[in-house]
């Protein structure tokens, strides 16, 4: 028996056994265990294989910095790779599997890499797999990825739910160790809204694992007391199992709460993980300190772990990590571990102290070897001894575990995520938290404080100071007496010389000291370059254990202070966050909000197929029995509109209601054409430019009263136009009396187009709709038969006699039904945006296909709309600049293929006849194309260089994507009713 569960002790529930499996074998653990502590209790030290060399590995920590014991938890779609066994909370039925090994963890073929390791150092891939170049992507990289790497993702869809939520507080305390608990308590008692978040499943931090007594109680019981008082305060929210992973602008912290990661079958009513955005007025970083590993030969073998880890397994989980434990230390932590182990009856073979002398005292009867270093470890799947070197004298010491302590590094990651670097302290021999202002301060060991009593004091003091800044009267807590503390000071030893095996600085990425040396030799000397060349501190580990040692070693190699080397960049996330948590509920059809028109139900029952237009679902076409494809439906709809009538949902257009005595002037400035003289009861087509003279959007605006207008915008630009108007009204012309509000959702709007539109509309509207009473561009309130108030606009996007009827949205479906009924005998049909598009191309009307952010009004043939006599309008000044008025600009033209059945595709480019197909010979492009059933030919709108003067020319439509070249004739961009005779009937 090497590692085993002690008969007593530990913050575990010995009455509650939990069964679990690891690599198919069943084990028993206890409630309160982590997976790692339960495996150790079952003498399972080997938990993984390393990333590159496939070296056997066991846990080196007992917390979230664990680089080795990375396991896959769960099975099937719920399997999660790279979970740290040291933080996974044990539950009944947990299924765990090791990674990166084949065929088994014990016998891993990939371990051959270890034999090749002299050749596989940093830069090996770059230097070796260079030739031939094509092999990299096809052969080398896939092979390397197969050989290296950790767990594999499940490819099935994630069956679980995730959520995102916001929380707000006066004070966020990150970490529920002694400093954090005390800070939360002081702030909570003072009445602040406090959130106390801790990544562990049990609050307490080091109080759970240290053998001190606080206020006469065991530390763990004292922590329990603090937690129960905090739980009783209504203004304090305890968030266990919650990792604060990022610090963002405006004091927003990102955190992930593992709601159901500790249950075998998650409840469908709850998310498995919840992503929190925590908005805090102030925050305290009480994340503690990380014990540094010592860097010596063979320091990665199973059984070698930090002294704190050994102590935590012992005191918190009641697990002895070995039967014969050796300690290798440069400070007090090693001695404390030796004392705790000895007190529990675990044999300590030796305390090896790297220092020549110290005040630390080992327990009676334990051999202390000073001024010595470990240079190698023996054993494969677990160490069975170590090789010690002391002034040239080598000695083998038998042991089955080695607790190492290389000093302390405050965990300052979060505080350094927004660009501020940690500060090297010669005195503490550590990188300390930088000053990032008064809103976010470090407390306890995160601030470099060493003992539990000082952590309690520091937490209380920092919280009291922040509370009073926020205007709360905080009374310092009664700080308890702490007995049995130890001196945690240390003398740094960056590298133990004489290593007879690889000495690792980064266990997870298999980076050894020799790799750091190679990086320096080969010129990758900046710490960021060293990182990229060697992969030190990369991936999920982010250098939690290794980065400070790396800085120290590189500094030593260069003969400078670590202050000169500095650290690499800290970025979110502190520990890995699942994509599920980041996505929250935004999965599948909930990926984006869905917008439905008031006529959605009407369209559905008329057989519509829908197309996504932004967030909208628009009816695209209405298939009827016997129609084999969408084109057949669209052709029928177009012909039906041209011959009889059709009804189309145009509710998605933006609608803005405009009020005020200055509205006319406002519109006159925002549109390039004139609006001052638009009479009440009339609609006008308007063209908006951007400041740079390029067309922004178009639509109609109708004057409903002296100081009352309603504007329509395109569907896509509804929000942009509203924003643009707000900006203009608020900043350019605050003197104009104009107010506006979006009414896009208030109205169901439908276009009834076709020669029979008037007959049909008259059956629904009771007002006189004769051409005399309601002429082209009339726009006013009408009353439907039955009394419903509506708005009617005689505007047309098809070139046919057409009306747009707007009714309150809730009546939309009923009114559309009534129009269809009224038009049944006239041959009415429902038509969708595809037919709408064909109708407008036939008529040469433009959309954002043409108004693509590059075209001027003149380019699209609307130059005459620019009312240059107006004193000013948006876009006037810049529209005259050179380049926007050049004669060879692309201009809107029509295209007809020489052979009518030859298809032209939008996006195809234009070439002069007989020109070689190349972009150098590019003459323009097709902006819109369709089959015109009215003409029996494909037709297109296109932007052609100096297009207007080239009507009649034969050109070639070159569609390189589809490998098509179609000869076509340039024509005016109107294919139907060029005289507008149909509009004025």
């Amino acid at each position: 028996m090497t590692s085993y569960r002690l008969d007593a002790g530990g913050a575990i529930n010995r009455a509650q056994a939990l069964s679990f499996s690891f690599d198919g074998r069943n084990y028993k653990g206890l409630q309160g265990d982590t997976l790692a502590s339960a495996l150790l209790a079952n003498d399972q030290m080997l938990m993984g294989r390393s990333f590159k060399y496939h070296r056997p590995r066991g846990p080196v920590t007992a917390g979230s910095s664990e680089p080795n014991a990375l396991l896959t938890i769960g099975s099937g779609a719920r399997s999660e790779p790279n979970a740290r066994a040291t933080t996974v909370e044990l539950y009944q039925g947990l299924v765990a599997a090791s990674q990166n090994r084949w065929p088994s963890l014990k016998h891993d073929i990939g371990a051959v890499n270890s034999l090749l390791s002299p050749f596989l150092g940093a830069g090996f891939y770059y230097k070796t797999f260079m030739w031939p170049a094509a092999f990299w992507e096809k052969l080398y990289e896939p092979l390397i990825r197969k050989a290296a790497g950790l767990g594999k993702l499940a490819l099935e869809a994630d069956p679980d739910r995730y959520e995102k939520a916001w929380a707000h507080c006066d004070l966020l305390v990150i970490g529920a160790g002694p400093a954090g608990l005390m800070a939360a308590l002081v702030a909570g008692r003072a009445g602040l809204r406090v959130i106390l978040a801790d990544e562990g499943f049990r609050p307490g931090g080091s109080l759970l694992s240290e053998s001190v007594s606080v206020a006469g109680l065991a530390a763990v019981d004292y922590a329990g007391g603090l937690v129960s008082e905090l739980s009783s305060l209504p203004n304090v929210t305890l968030m266990p199992r919650t990792t604060v992973f990022g610090w963002y602008d405006d004091m927003v912290f990102g955190a992930v709460e593992r709601v159901q990661k500790h249950v075998a079958s998650p409840s469908p009513e709850l998310p498995v993980e919840r992503l929190w955005r925590i908005v805090a007025k102030r925050a305290i970083l009480a994340s503690g300190a990380e014990e540094r590993p010592l860097v010596f030969g063979g320091n990665d073998k199973p059984g070698v772990m930090t002294a704190t880890a050994a102590r935590t397994y012992l005191n918190r989980y009641g697990v002895a990590v070995g039967g014969k434990v050796a300690v290798f230390t440069n400070g007090g932590s090693g001695y404390r571990t030796a004392a705790d182990l000895a007190a529990k009856g675990v044999e300590v073979t030796a305390v090896i102290d790297a220092r020549a002398q110290s005040a630390d005292v080992a327990p009676a009867g334990i051999r202390v070897i000073r001024n010595a270093g470990v240079v190698a470890t023996n054993g494969r799947h677990r160490i069975d001894g170590l090789l010690l070197e002391r002034a040239g004298f080598e000695e083998v010491i038998g042991c089955d575990a080695l607790a190492m302590s290389g000093g302390w590094s405050p965990i300052v990651h979060l505080m350094c995520q927004r660009g501020t670097k940690p500060v090297w302290s010669e005195e503490s021999q550590a990188f300390l938290a930088p000053n990032v202002g008064n809103s976010f301060v470090a407390a306890g060991s995160a601030a470099g404080v060493e003992t539990i009593s000082e952590c309690l004091r520091d937490g209380a003091a920092k919280a009291a100071s922040l509370a009073s800044e926020l205007g709360f009267a905080a009374h310092g807590a009664n700080l308890p007496d702490v007995e049995g503390e130890y001196d945690a000071s240390f003398a740094p030893v960056w590298y133990v010389p004489g290593a007879k095996d690889k000495a690792f600085v980064d266990f997870q990425n298999d980076v050894a000291v020799s790799d750091l040396g190679a990086a320096q030799r080969e010129g990758f000397r900046h710490i960021e370059h060293t990182k990229r060349y060697t992969t030190v501190g990369m991936a999920t580990d982010q250098g939690k254990l290794g980065n400070v040692n790396t800085a120290g070693i590189v500094a030593a190699m260069r003969g400078v202070s670590p202050a000169e080397i500095g650290t690499t960049t800290f970025r979110p996330f502190y520990t890995p966050v699942s994509f599920g948590a980041l996505a929250g509920a935004a999965q599948g059809e909930h990926g984006a909000p869905v917008r439905t028109s008031p006529l959605h139900g009407w369209a559905k029952k008329n057989g519509a197929s829908f197309v996504e237009a932004g967030l909208w679902y628009r009816s695209a076409w209405f298939a009827r029995d016997g129609e084999k494809n969408w084109r057949e439906s669209v052709d029928r709809e177009v012909l039906s509109v041209r011959a009889n009538a059709g009804l189309c949902d145009v509710s998605t257009l933006g609608k803005i209601e405009i009020f005020g005595a200055g509205a006319a002037e406002f519109l006159d400035r925002i549109y390039c054409n004139g609006f001052l003289k638009l009479p009440v009861g009339k609609a006008r087509y308007g063209l908006m430019l951007r400041e740079d003279g390029i067309v922004f959007d178009d639509g109609t605006t109708s004057r409903l009263g002296e100081h009352h207008y309603v504007m329509t915008t395109t569907t896509a630009y509804a929000t942009d136009v509203m924003t643009h108007m707000e900006f203009c009204a608020q900043t350019f012309w605050p003197e104009l009396d104009v107010r506006f509000v979006s009414v896009s959702d208030q109205w169901a709007q439908m276009s009834l187009a076709g020669p029979k539109a008037r007959i049909i509309m008259s059956r629904v509207v009771q007002d006189d709709l004769s051409d005399a009473a309601f002429p082209f561009l009339a726009a006013r309130a009408v009353t439907l038969r039955g009394g419903l108030k509506a708005r009617l606009f005689r505007i047309s996007f098809s070139g046919e006699l057409a009306y747009e009827l707007a009714v309150p949205a809730g009546y939309g479906e009923a009114v559309a039904d009534a129009i269809m009924e009224a038009g049944r005998d006239e041959g009415i049909c429902a038509y969708g945006v595809e037919a709408l598009n064909v109708l407008r191309i036939e008529k040469g009307f433009i959309t954002h296909n043409e108004l693509d952010g590059r075209t001027t009004a003149d380019d699209v043939g609307l130059g005459r709309m620019m009312a240059m006599q107006k004193p000013d309008f948006i876009g006037k000044r810049l529209s005259t600049r050179f380049g926007l008025t050049a004669a060879d600009r692309l201009q809107l033209v029509g295209l007809k293929p020489v052979e009518p059945e030859k298809q032209i595709n939008a996006g195809a480019h234009l070439l002069k006849e007989a020109a070689k197909p190349s972009l150098a010979n590019d003459q323009g492009f097709v902006s819109s194309a369709c089959y015109s059933p009215a003409l029996g030919s494909f037709i297109a709108l296109a932007m052609l260089k100096s297009g207007r003067e080239r009507v009649g020319e034969r050109i070639v439509v070159w569609d390189a994507l589809r490998g098509m070249e179609v000869p076509a004739d340039v024509c005016a961009p109107v294919f139907v009713d060029a005289e507008n005779a149909k509009l004025h009937v």
């Binding site: 707000h168 909930h590 439905t596 896009s744 959702d745 208030q746 009546y811 479906e813 009923a814």
Partner: protein, 183 residues
């Protein structure tokens, strides 16, 4: 010929099949509320705000400087519009069909809304009677606190189905129910 048109609530399909007995956490969807936009013209902002504060029969929601929504029961429809129309310097515009009003109430209402909006809804920060425009389930909405555990969300009609579905999803762990309310 007289035509009779049926008015249809956009959440009709979404609410079909829900249990009729409300749980402690419940969403009431107003079937036919009257909702009006009120816009104060330049220089009249304070005066309009004052008149709105005295308004009887409607609940006033702040949207932005010089802009409010006034919500009231259907019965008051015309009357409310007339009353508002009389305020000098204000323009009024009907939004009753363009907006959907959902009232969410219950002991967990705030916890549910914490998953829908980013704003701090603590009573000290967002007190009864307060309202503001904010994103709710990714959609521009107006949220008002109408009671200690009672909030009203006004969302654009076209987005209502999407917001409603997400709200109910976020309420799952608190057994949130929903129904139409006739008042």
């Amino acid at each position: 010929m007289t035509l009779h048109f049926l008015h249809r609530h956009v959440l009709e399909d979404h609410l079909a099949g829900f249990e009729t007995r409300p749980n402690p956490n419940h969403v009431n969807v107003a079937r036919r509320p009257v909702i009006l936009s009120v816009l104060a013209h330049s220089g009249h902002e304070a005066a309009v705000a004052e008149r709105l504060a005295e308004l009887a029969g409607g609940s006033v929601r702040f949207c932005g400087p010089g802009e409010w929504l006034v919500a009231g029961p259907a019965l008051l429809g015309e009357e409310l519009a007339d009353r508002l129309g009389e305020i000098p310097g204000a323009s009024v515009c009907d939004q009753s069909d363009g907006k959907v009003l959902m009232a969410i109430g219950g002991p967990s209402a705030r916890k549910i809304l914490a998953k829908c909006v980013a704003a701090d809804l603590h009573g000290d920060v967002f007190a009864e009677g307060q309202s503001a425009n904010m994103l709710c389930c990714h959609v521009a909405s107006n949220l008002a606190r109408t009671g200690a555990d009672l909030f009203e969300i006004i969302v654009p009609r076209s987005f209502a189905g999407s917001v409603f579905e997400e709200l109910m999803e976020m309420g799952r762990e608190y057994a949130l129910t929903a129904s139409f309310s006739e008042d």
